[in-house]
């Protein structure tokens, strides 16, 4: 049950060739799990999220399989996916809150959206109002235009919209990043509440802000330059990461209470490779302090402890000895 992704590979087609944005991704999201997906910009996290819902040009499906509740998802077929979108799998794209139709009242827009999915607005109205209460929005918002709402309110409205048909999987792309800290906390906590109330079965939360994930996610998947780097429970990623990239990333985050005079943090030197012609093997090797000859081959995404997957030759060697 839940979501199973096997060897998913998605490229972007450009005039110069294929941009290898997502390479051989395999992971599971269990029923009722909130998985965080984190990484720097350009690491392929948004590509992964979008390819599960709306794999449009210039994205190109290369290979792999996606199973949702043991059912094969035809992600490469835009037409066939229509039956799954919003009902089975739903996405809150980045900046969705700014994409509400400015010429329609929110209630009208919701009705039109449901109509396109052949669901009656009248039947669902009671549930919609219950959901609005859940996110602490007054019911009058249905008679308001998007411009009358603040950013946090719009984001909560979008969350209600995208989970209205109880999808099995919700993909939330950067839903907290444009908000103030107080609304950020409210939105993040409501996402957990949605899961607890079964408004969505499991969720993938895409963000660059790892400290938000520490608050709400059950597990975290770290990506680097189109490859999966590490996947483990939230506590394991934050407190005992194994992949060198995760280690350096976590240690570069300033924590509340750490000050420059007392403890100088350091970033990761270098920058991510271009994915048009990525280096062979592990894509982190150019910035990795531990890199050796074997890193010219792609490291396997290996389970080194129960539920803890790492793609690193050093860790897999340690694991083999143990």
């Amino acid at each position: 049950m839940g979501l199973q992704v096997e060897n998913l590979t998605v490229y972007y087609q450009t005039l110069k060739g294929n941009v290898q944005a997502l390479e051989n991704a395999s992971f599971n999201v269990a029923d009722g799990e909130i998985m965080g997906l984190a990484g720097e910009s350009g690491c392929g996290k948004t590509t992964l999220g979008h390819s599960l819902v709306y794999l449009n040009q210039p994205m190109k499906f290369i290979g792999g399989r996606v199973l949702l509740n043991d059912q094969d998802m035809p992600i490469a077929d835009m037409e066939a996916m229509n039956d799954f979108r919003l009902k089975q799998i739903s996405i809150i794209p980045q900046y969705a809150m700014n994409a509400l139709n400015p010429t329609r009242k929110i209630g009208k827009m919701t009705a039109e959206l449901l109509e396109s999915k052949k669901v009656s607005f009248k039947i669902i109205k009671a549930e919609l109002e219950r959901r609005l209460d859940l996110v602490k929005l007054p019911r009058e918002v249905l008679n308001m235009y998007p411009i009358e709402l603040s950013g946090g309110m719009k984001q909560r409205m979008v969350m209600v919209l995208s989970t209205l048909l109880n999808p099995a999987l919700l993909i939330a792309d950067e839903i907290t990043s444009a908000l103030d800290v107080a609304s950020q906390k409210a939105v993040a906590e409501m996402l957990v509440e949605f899961r607890d109330q079964q408004c969505c079965n499991s969720a993938i939360v895409i963000t660059h802000d790892i400290s938000i994930l520490y608050q709400i996610a059950d597990s975290i998947l770290i990506m680097y330059a189109g490859q999966l780097a590490e996947r483990a429970s939230t506590d394991a990623i934050i407190h005992s990461p194994r992949h060198p990239y995760t280690k350096m990333l976590i240690s570069s985050l300033p924590k509340v209470g750490v000050r420059y005079e007392e403890k100088k943090l350091s970033g990761i030197p270098g920058k991510p490779p271009l994915l048009l012609n990525p280096p062979r093997g592990c894509r982190f090797k150019e910035r990795c302090p531990l890199a050796f000859e074997k890193c010219d081959q792609v490291p396997p995404f290996e389970e080194i402890a129960p539920g803890h997957f790492v793609a690193c030759w050093k860790e897999s060697a340690k694991n083999a000895q143990a």
């Binding site: 720097e40 906390k185 409210a186 790892i210 300033p254 924590k255």
Partner: protein, 319 residues
Amino acid sequence: MLKLSNVSKVYKVGAFGEKELHAVNDVTFDIKDGEVTSLIGESGSGKSTIGKMILHLIPRTKGGIFLDETDVSELKGAALKEYYRRVQGVFQDPFSSYNPIFKADRIFNMIHDEFYPEVSSQEWDDRIYDALKAVGLNPEHVLNKFPHQLSGGQLQRFLIARALLLDIKLLVADEIISMLDASTRIDVLNLLADLKSRHSLSILFITHDLSLANYISERAVILYRGCIAEMGVTEKIFTNPMHPYTKMLMASVPRLDQRWEKADTVVEQTLNPMGTTAGCIYYERCPLADKICAQAKPKFVEPEPDHFVACHRVAEKIS
């Protein structure tokens, strides 16, 4: 060195400009020599407006901004140019700070033509090299390139290098690292702290991120809807927040060492949008609000040295 006294910025809004929006309301604080002062606030708190007023990009409505006793807002012509030799700004989006048609190093040549026409090209090139090295870039790799060929971190360092060429005393850094990736932002932050101690630079660090502010600054000013809620030594504010707003902020910041407490988060209500009230600006959201809070503006009290709070309830407690 730079002093803001009772600075306000009022925008006329509405179809006929009949309404007033108080973006910054009676703000007084100073930036000391060789210190990093953080200006912390949510969006709409007026933090960028203050930065722009200091940089003379928008006029102030009331009050005065003084750099060593001269009122900045009155400066014109040659005097204003002299001011820009000493005070410079770097902004949030490095990509929109450049003209994409020209090479990125054009910004250095513009400084040369405008401010140092007497310096020979040879010597100017040497100065550019020194400035780029000071911000941790290798001049061979970054000169003669177009903006799109450089990363966000590199472009942001370019802008800091440009400011250094002018031998500045105060740098206004408006959200300069919020667009950068986690692995590079800490390097830019370290660079700022490093420049501060080497060039005895004062920095006004405008941010919404409390942990970054705590990391780098000696002093912090917490702004809420145009008014200062709390200010003082950073350490005291962070270890012992007193204003209810600061407390709420501290509790909402996602941390890596501690999970959010299961308390009811206060969801924003529709607030009086114009920022005008007879009482405390935080009254509508404050859990401790009392009658007096609606009637009178709170004055600053100093519950401990170098720690100022504008709150009636804190004032009651210490008196």
